[in-house]
Point group: C2
Amino acid sequence: MSHKTDIEIARAANKKPIQEIGQKLGIPTEHLLPYGHDKAKVGQEFINELESRPDGKLILVTAINPTPAGEGKTTTTVGLGDGLNAIGKKAAIAIREASLGPNFGMKGGAAGGGYAQVVPMEDMNLHFTGDFHAITSAHNLLSAMIDNHIYWGNSLEIDERRITWRRVMDMNDRALRDMVVGLGGVSNGFARQTGFDITVASEVMAILCLAQDLDDLQQRLGDIIVAYTRERTPITCRQIGADGAMTVLLRDAMQPNLVQTLENNPAFVHGGPFANIAHGCNSLIATRTALKLADYVVTEAGFGADLGAEKFMNIKCRKGGIAPSVVVLVATVRAMKMNGGVAKEDLGTENVEAVRAGCANLGRHIENMKSFGVPVVVAINHFVTDTEAEVEAIKAYVAEHGSEAILARHWAEGSAGITELATRVAEIADKDSAHFAPLYADDMGLFAKIETIAKRIYRADEVLADKKIRDQLRAWEEAGFGHLPICMAKTQYSFSTDPSLRGAPTGHSVPVREVRLSAGAGFVVVICGEIMTMPGLPSKPAAMSIGLNAAGEVEGLF
Amino acid sequence: MSHKTDIEIARAANKKPIQEIGQKLGIPTEHLLPYGHDKAKVGQEFINELESRPDGKLILVTAINPTPAGEGKTTTTVGLGDGLNAIGKKAAIAIREASLGPNFGMKGGAAGGGYAQVVPMEDMNLHFTGDFHAITSAHNLLSAMIDNHIYWGNSLEIDERRITWRRVMDMNDRALRDMVVGLGGVSNGFARQTGFDITVASEVMAILCLAQDLDDLQQRLGDIIVAYTRERTPITCRQIGADGAMTVLLRDAMQPNLVQTLENNPAFVHGGPFANIAHGCNSLIATRTALKLADYVVTEAGFGADLGAEKFMNIKCRKGGIAPSVVVLVATVRAMKMNGGVAKEDLGTENVEAVRAGCANLGRHIENMKSFGVPVVVAINHFVTDTEAEVEAIKAYVAEHGSEAILARHWAEGSAGITELATRVAEIADKDSAHFAPLYADDMGLFAKIETIAKRIYRADEVLADKKIRDQLRAWEEAGFGHLPICMAKTQYSFSTDPSLRGAPTGHSVPVREVRLSAGAGFVVVICGEIMTMPGLPSKPAAMSIGLNAAGEVEGLF
């Protein structure tokens, strides 16, 4: 058991040259584009050559609804990847990149924790290989070209009040949420109201993470609807003429990044779309590349299984032609206790009854995941204060619900603490017992798709949406967008739309506040509640204590 | 003589792995941080170890006042570097990075031309190693923290009308020049007017290019004045608490980038400040690193010698403790003709008289450069339509003015066409005949410094500045900024402030419109005329024809 901090452990890592990590997956050095000695991109040409290879087994790590206690989903993803390697399997992990801006607000930003981390941690929380900067540039080029089109005569007859395409910045900057641009006279264009979102909320991010290849990328970028005319005719990025230049800006960013775990196993870290207004998974191209190169690929989805895994299944798997062989559902004793009504300050005290009560949340996620036709294993991510009785309470509950729970100590012990889980997960995956199917068919109506998710996953009684919203959905169906999947944007803290409603609520309603069409990404966003697409900084931002120490190391970022 | 385009020549380049280029300068592979196979950063630790080594000879390439005919300053810098290597010298070049945004407006962006280019050309015109993105992030973090400070109570009592720190984006986006942010109610902050500049205009860019090391970088970032109180007390970046986090964001960007010429010689490409409101040279750290590693370093300054070389001498050399051994002044027959009154469409016809008449501009630049105590050689950058008589006219004129002119055919022939110039430049440098001194002393008054530049370099009769401006300069002197050098921002097309006044005008006045204090960069900006810090896109932006071709190559960018 270690008492080192995550950053101390990460700095003590015995990193291998990234070429050696690539060799584990059979990537020739010339196809590995290095960024420093410990990061690389896998070359597009090499990826193209992999097409005919068989896929490895895909393992999805998801979790119960998050609580302030923390679940350790990424930590478990990393640990499981190391565990599979430790038992002799050829395994890789595939996770999201971190957004730069939020690091300057609250502390945070590690990729995993304890002895289950991905390195180099500093780089991954700073510019990494520049992917998000490329997305910012591509997004804002389109923005500039829209205003420029209007400036030079507006031949497309864009209604300046109906420009839906905003600008983005990878920074928490609330002052940019709502603004009037184009002030200062004739030479600066036409004044109009707009704003900035944070880069991870850009549709370009979602597109990069769902595109099959560069051609598909350009096609999807071209399909983005950026504005409407007075007659409500959509205007696309293709009509603005930005799709080619945006593709050029994103060419390098489309290549997946390879780094390593503390145990020198390969980790793909690529893309990072919002998990509310977008689908919240790492890029399809990274997952598919990993599946071609490794026998087992451990990946994760954002938030809890009701939001993240649902979208992983219904959006990413459906559109990407991939399917999980097994789902690992992460739970902790502490989170079960919180779901069972225990306050955060009392989590250190044994409370088997509360654990048992809180298991209702876990139980429903197990049922939900099974409804996709995929076997489920629960990973109990061990915490130092957990008692044996508490752990046994979870195991018993899960067994009663027709699944199995395995204790994992990867945070404290690395791969040595997770071999039992790794062994069992590999066994299940090898059995090929999954019969994955998305929850709804492409040809179901858009509103019916929303109802299906709300009733079958959230266990709500009804979806509330006023006539304007239902009319909008019908209009999109008529315009040829009815086949798209749904991207739900609701609170991650509850099955319901009320963040305080923990456990396994029933009988609730799902009110739809707004719907948005992401025609390029290829989904309809359904917004239930307030969604913030540009965060602000707190009164004492983390940035105030971030700096280089005497050794030239970054302090305060973690 | 080739008829290939620049991009065709660049694509046909036989690039060597960047490690081999580093080896030419004795950079161990572990200290070369690769970005792909053909770009790298030189590690800070290695740079720190070089301190005690002797410096090589610094060769400054500058030019006559630019004309639409083009002078080929970068082409000559690259060619001369190759030429020096060809005659057996250990030489490197040091030039600026390109700004991303303008590439989407007009075509352009090559680094050099013909057979004197730096590669990889595409990357250098796209994200390169991410330096400018890092500068954008660092700049905008400070911006966000200023508004955040006000949002949370404004304990520093910043006057919202007197915030001088804007935001930046590496994009030509005129709609962002002037805007009102903070709209939308209480949770978005206080509405106020501000705007975006293009990234290369950021003071952070100028600071990165003048900082000696990371400590100096943080010191300078902290010194930036971002706003004033109602009582006109300056508020600095340090008071906002952003200097540490900005330094962290810029840590990698501070390391110089190494690429190669078409002839596989080392090229440092690092930093790119505006040449009007900033000093317009590549980074000091790149130049100094190059001087430690090579026997000869060829570098260049922005615009013509009146602006670029003056600032190179009075700002970069003064502050950086470096000095040129020789100045190479680039001229072309065509530019001489234009200075002599010939229209662009008639440049292909021999006109010796016009060449001779236009030489007045060249002659004054020779005198000016000599006044810094540095020997001058004129490089006549050969163009296919030049006649022998025209070339001889320039040579004769230069000889009459106590210098020498040498014809160079590097554009068409690479190093083979520039050995005479390279040999002579090396001879002069080896003689150590330069006695470099800046034009004015640190302790001269700010207005007197402006007058010195205007009278001795521009040959103006007077500097016109109203009382408000003179008072401002005095106030800065009293506040302890009187020792700073001057950064002139005026038209690059003339010695005067009137862009149509070619040749060697006298008797003119220099009207000062505005003065700005760049306390972090360490200079006082003196603005004479309209300076645009956020360009716009043309009616048919180059972006509309930029894209990937079937081979995956970038088309339309050049």
